[in-house]
Amino acid sequence: MSSSTTRRGDRVRSPRRDPGTTDARPAARRPLLSRVLGVQPIGWLFGAPYLVFAIVVFAYPLVFAIYMSFFDYFFSAPGVEVDKPFVGLDNYIAVLTDPAVLQSFGNVLVFLVINVPLTVVLSIVLATALNKVVHLRTFLRVSYYVPYVTASVALVGVWLFLFGGGGLVNNVLGPLAPDPSWLVNPALAMPTIALFVTWKQLGFYILLYLAALQNVPQELYESASTDGAGPIRSFFSVTVPGVRQATVLVLMLSTIIGANLFTEPYLLTGGGGPNGASASPVLIMYQRGIQQGHPGFAAALGIILTIAVLIVALLQRRFAGGRDE
């Protein structure tokens, strides 16, 4: 087959030839072991712990959840035969027609609409400010980070004290306090949870931005200053574009973590109350899958939630990631 008749794709896959010779023999094939394990087999050894971790903790449960979602599954004791019939798409239909589930998706949407933008804006602004602080820098960084590392159970107690009917916030607001109060008000329960989670997670995202800010060249700020840019113009023209990769990461992480909301509605609003106004899809998964013994339904809900989060994350990457991804 002459090169003149070879299609383009074939040429790409052809063995390389030394242009200075006419020897057309292919390069000697490597040993099988080398071909399977690569040039540096020890790389597998170093990578094995994470590979095993990823398979056991992520891949296996995900595949098993997909499997469960097509069955009327039930967790049974070893060696006990319990009927787990194949139900096709029934679990998915049940999930998508369940008013409580639909309400929970609406709730989490409210949560994300408040939590994600607030997280991005507050963390980049605070990180920029912290990056310029000279005195008490460590103290301030630790202060923002403490809520992140503190157990939610402990923080929930503090927020109940703050936002309870007779709590500090309502006492300060006096006649302006909402009735019903924050956590038992269907319109305010989810926004209050969104504020709580934003505050709790902020320290982590500030750290991400602080790390990203170290990579923004100082010369850019100097050039901007020479061109007459003030602090605000520098922030929008240098800082914000300079930390865009961190912003994409913060967007995606806060969306994923937010979509997996569980502890706060479980503890702060007593199981997704009032009237399911703060129930999240993961809380419904917990109730149906673990408490009520319908893991097939919970798995289908989990798969739908995963797909929804993936779509949102892909959109965020597409529209916020820029061309230099």
């Binding site: 398979i55 296996y60 499997y67 967790f75 049974s76 109350g273 009237n275 408490q291 013994g293």
Partner: protein, 432 residues
């Protein structure tokens, strides 16, 4: 690119292999072999201090006389709830032989999982349980006629009230007017309007499935003279009795006589609420904080004599788990732990009522020495249990969702909400 493909292939193969392994079942001995087998066993008991004390004493007493059938005991592992821990342990095959902390409402699910041993399969299983607990034992019987739990102890809930707050409100603290709904509501209004307490009563308003046990179910049991919320696979509460109870609680919440928000701490102990719906376990707890308290049966629409009033049992049962290799020993231990002597120890240490027909007579000395408990000992004869269907938790969640929406929040008609909850429960019963 080829390298990536290889990695993906290896990963996919491993995932597939793991999935296939998960789809197959593990082994396990036959139940009949295990039921006659004797040897060491393990048990779990509750983690509250009083029950731990009882558990340790019981194990010590057994172990002293049975060197070849030693018990290894521990508190039930920590988790969001005991039921989740047990569910996970059943799936993993790591349950102990006996758990002295089974929630009867969760037993149907454990049974469906294949995690429980049918105690009626022991030669003296049914006769022992029925002789000890009498007719109440029927409430703990499975739909297939077996006993997958031994009814162990109850905490019949009653209305605890703070006598000092009642006196401050100008109410008769020794004979409080709390028998009928009208009396109860009038007293509750007086307690709040007088400023004696922020709330007359403060049941938890949260959405967990078990919360109906402390508001709707006790009053429904009393109103109906001993009916459970589900009987013969049907919800029973979408009727005038259920509506009466719903209307009563609706009045409590609409008149702000109870809090609609989760209270951090114990509102009764803190003096924020003048009443609480609790069982006798709380006597020791309240005794240190509220010296001057009284207890009366839960109210009914038209009033019911105390010795005819039913309530929710707040019971715990003992389950024997199918992973147990020495079920013969486990059955012997179960009988030992629920013997007259050990039940006496349980009553003495925890103040909780062993579910046995001869409670008042067998332990008459205890009740004479502890008169506070006498009313609970009497009430223990008239208790109602949660349904034991595999779908019990879902059923109770359906009731709770309707209750929190229509009765606590006042969003919609309470009677219609009960009707809807009853329909949902009927459909769930069909699935079980």
């Amino acid at each position: 690119m080829q390298r990536r493909t290889r990695i993906a292939l290896v990963a996919a193969t491993a995932v597939a292999a793991l999935s296939l392994a998960a789809c197959s079942s593990g082994g396990g001995g036959t139940a009949t072999d295990a039921m006659t087998s004797h040897g060491p066993i393990s048990i779990w008991y509750s983690n509250n201090a009083a029950e731990v004390e009882w558990g340790k004493g019981m194990v010590e007493a057994w172990n002293a006389d049975h060197p070849d059938e030693q018990i290894t005991a521990q508190e039930i592992p920590a988790g969001k709830s005991s039921e989740e821990v047990i569910t996970a342990a059943i799936t993993a095959g790591t349950t102990p032989c006996l758990v002295f902390n089974n929630l009867p409402a969760a037993t149907g699910q454990f049974q469906k999982q294949g995690g429980l041993v049918d105690l009626s399969k022991f030669d003296d299983g049914t006769s022992y349980i029925e002789a000890r607990s009498g007719a109440i034992a029927d409430q703990y019987k499975s739909a297939d006629g077996g006993f997958y739990q031994l009814p162990w102890k109850s905490n019949p809930v009653m209305i605890f009230y703070n006598k000092d707050l009642f006196t401050a409100a100008g109410l008769d603290a020794e004979n409080p007017p709390l028998s009928t709904y009208d009396e109860f509501l009038a007293s509750a209004k007086q307690l709040v309007s007088s400023g004696a307490a922020t709330y007359a009563i403060n049941p938890s308003p949260t959405s967990e499935f078990f919360q109906p046990n402390f508001d709707f179910i006790p009053l429904y049991a009393a109103q109906t003279g001993g009916k459970g919320i589900v009987e013969d696979g049907k919800a029973t509460f979408a009727n005038d009795d259920g509506y009466a109870v719903a209307d009563f609680w609706s009045s409590i919440y609409s008149d702000d006589l109870a809090g609609k928000e989760k209270y951090e701490g114990d509102a009764f102990v803190d003096g924020k609420a003048a009443m609480a719906i609790v069982g006798p376990w709380a006597i020791a707890y309240y005794g240190e904080k509220i010296a001057n308290w009284g207890a009366v049966p839960v109210p009914t629409e038209n009033g019911t004599p105390a010795d005819e009033t039913y309530t929710f049992s707040d019971a715990k049962s003992v389950g024997m788990y199918s992973s147990c290799e020495n079920q013969g020993t486990a059955w012997d231990v179960l009988k030992f732990a629920t013997s007259e002597e050990q039940d006496g120890q349980l009553l003495d240490i925890t103040g909780q009522m062993p579910i046995r027909t001869d409670l008042a007579t067998t332990y008459s000395d205890y009740f004479a020495a502890n008169p506070d408990y006498e009313v609970f000992g009497d009430q223990a004869n008239r208790t109602v249990e949660d349904p034991t269907d595999p779908e019990s938790v879902a059923m109770m969640q359906a009731l709770r969702d309707a209750y929190t929406k229509a009765i606590i929040s006042g969003d919609g008609d309470a009677r219609s909400a009960l009707d809807e909850a009853a329909k949902k429960i009927d459909s769930l019963a069909g699935q079980g």
